[in-house]
Symmetry: C2
Subunit: 387 residues, 2 copies
Amino acid sequence: MQNFTFHNPTEIIFGKHTIREIGAKASYFGDRVLLVYGQGSIKTNGVYSQVIESLEKAGLYVTEFGGVKPNPILSHLEEGVLLAKRKKIGLIVAVGGGSVLDEAKAIAAGTRTDGEVWDFFVNKATIQDAMPLLAVLTLSATGSEMNPTAVVTNEVHQKKFEISSPLLFPKTSILDPTTLYSVPNNYTAYSAVDTISHVIEGYFTGDDPSTPIQDRLVEGIVKSTMESTEICLRDPENYQGRATMMWAATLALNGLPVAGIGEFNFPNHMIEHSLSAIYDIPHGAGLSIVIPGWMKFSVGDSPEKFAQFAHRIFGMATNSTEKDAEAGIDALKAWFEKIGSPVSLSDVNIPESDIEKIAENATMLANKWEMNDYTKDVIIQVLRLCC
Amino acid sequence: MQNFTFHNPTEIIFGKHTIREIGAKASYFGDRVLLVYGQGSIKTNGVYSQVIESLEKAGLYVTEFGGVKPNPILSHLEEGVLLAKRKKIGLIVAVGGGSVLDEAKAIAAGTRTDGEVWDFFVNKATIQDAMPLLAVLTLSATGSEMNPTAVVTNEVHQKKFEISSPLLFPKTSILDPTTLYSVPNNYTAYSAVDTISHVIEGYFTGDDPSTPIQDRLVEGIVKSTMESTEICLRDPENYQGRATMMWAATLALNGLPVAGIGEFNFPNHMIEHSLSAIYDIPHGAGLSIVIPGWMKFSVGDSPEKFAQFAHRIFGMATNSTEKDAEAGIDALKAWFEKIGSPVSLSDVNIPESDIEKIAENATMLANKWEMNDYTKDVIIQVLRLCC
C-alpha cells in the first residue's frame, strides 16, 4: 500500500422518502437557492414537486435553472454562472444525474471567480472558493454525488475536460433508489458499465499490487453491480436491486477503492471522452465499447491481476494465468452485450475510418492527464481492438 | 438495504513518515495542545519525539497528559478534564491506540461541560460540544481513529460504557504502519480479533439480508486481516502486512460496513466488556473467547448467513448449509487459536463458577444497549459455550 490521504466529508442520506429532507439540509447554507436540473424528467417523475415543496417549507427562495444536457456543455454552464451571479445566489441544489451535478459543481466554482470558468478546466486558474452545493440524485452512475470532480464539454472545441477540488464535495447528497424506477433499461445498463469502469481503472492500472482490501472492495462492487443490474433489468421497480446499484455507483468513485493504490490512470475514460464528445453517445455506452478492447491491449502488462479478476468475478480457475485472464475479458464483454450495452464501434455506427480522428482527439486528454504512454499510435491500436 | 445516513468527516493521512504532519494539521485548531498518551511506549519507539518536534515546529504550546491505561478508567479521565480546563487547552492530540483515543475523546467532551463527564456515559447528559481532537495511531484495532465513539471503564462500579457523538470524530488521524513494528505478537493477534469482531457483529445481527456490497466489504476485511496478520506474526516489520492490518481495522468500524444493514447489535462486545472490566484482560483476548461461543449459540438464527461466511472466508462448500455454517465457526475458532489468542475462559484462568457473576455484570450493558433478548439466562448459555 502506498501513502495516501482520504477525506470525504460529504453526508449521504440514503433511502426511501429521503428527498423531503433537502430543504432542512439546504437551509444550513443560505436562503437563495439555484435549483439546477436537466431536461425536465424530474417534472414527470414527481421528484421536482417533492424538492420544491421541501425547499419552500424550509423558507428558501428558489431560482430555477434547467436544461442541463446529458453531456453538459460550456455555454449552458456559463449561462448558469451569470444567472447565479445576477440573482445573488448563496447555494446550489442540483437535482438529477451526474451531468446535472457536474454542471452544478462548475457553476459553484464559476460564481466565485471574476475570470472565465473554463480556465479551471484547462489549468489556467485554480479553484479558490465555491458555493455550497447539495444534491438529489435521480440517475446513478457517475459517483459525482460523493466526489469533488466535474466533467464538462467545451462544445466549440470538442473537449470534454474535468475539474477537481476539495471545495466541490457536495455538502449533502440525497439518494432515493425509488427515483431510479423510471430509468429505462438501456440507461440502467450504461449506469452499470460506468460503475464497473470506475473501479477497474484503478484496479488494473494502480502501481501497487499490495492492496488486498482495495481489491476485494472493487471486486465486491463489480459483483454486486452485476447481480443487481440483472435484477433491475428484469424488474425495474425492484427496490433492493436499485438500492444496490445506487450505493455501488457512489462507492465506486468516492476515493476509497483507490486509497493506497499509488499512481493510477483512466485510460478507458480518456479514450471514451472522445467518443462521447464527438458523437454525443452516452458515456456508459462508450465505455462498454472501449473497455474490452483496452483490456485485451493491456492484459500482458499484469496477467496475474487480470486472472485474479477472472477468478473472483467469473470463477475462472484453470491452471493457466493467461487463459483465465483472457477468459475474464471475454466474460465481461459478453456480460456488457447481455445487458444491452454496445461492445464495438460498429454497434453505434462509428466507422473504422474514424479511428484516426478519435485518436487525434483523445491525445489532447492523454496530454492533459500526462499519460505519456498513450501516444496517438497506441490509442489507435486500442481503438482497433474495439471494432 | 435500509435507509441510512453516512457521514464520516475524519481526514485520514496514511503511510510512512506521515507523523511529521501532525503539527501543521493541529495548528488549524488552536495553539494550546493537550498531548494525551499511554504508558510511555511512545517514548521508546521514537513516536513521542517525532510528535513533539512537529508540534513545536508548528508553534504549539504542549501540555502532556500520559498514563492512560489499556482499558481507560474514569478517575484518570477526570484528571485529564481538570488539567485541560486549568491549562485552558484548545485542542487535543492523542498519541496511542484505541484506549488513548477513547479517553482523549471523553476529555474533549468533558472539558466543554460543567457537569460530570460520566453523565454522558450513563445517558444523564448529552454531548453538546467538544474540543477538536487529532490522533496519531500507534496500535491499531479499535477503529477509534475514524469514528465518533469512546469506551471508558468506571473502575469503582466495574462498568465499561461508551459515548458516541458526531462531535467526537477526530479532525485528522495519522496512521503510520511502521509504528506497529514493535507491537508484540500477542497484541497483533488481539488487534486482528478486534477488527474481525467489529465487522461480524453487524454482518450476523443486521436485520436486512439485502446488503450484498456491505457483505462483501466485510468479507474482504476479514480475509485481508487474516492474511496480513499471519504475515505480521512471522515478520513483524513487514510494511505491507502492517499497512493492511491497520487500514482494515480503520475501515471495520468507520460506519461503512453497517450502512444500510438496519438495526444490529454488538452481543459479543456486550459480553466481552464484562470480561475485560472484571478481569482486566485485553479486549481482543476476551473477544476471541466470546465469539466462537456466541456464534454456536446464534447459528440457528441465520444458518444461510453463517454458511455464506464459511463459504466465502474458508471455502466450505458441501451441500449442507448447516454443516458449512458449523464448519465456518470451527475454522474461525481454530484460526484464533493458531494466532495465539485465547478461545475459552479457562485459557485465561477464569473459572466456570464465575459465569454467573460475569452474566450479572453483562446484563447492565445489555439493558443500556436495549438488547432485550439478552437476559441473564441467555448470557449464561452463551458463556457456557465459551468454556
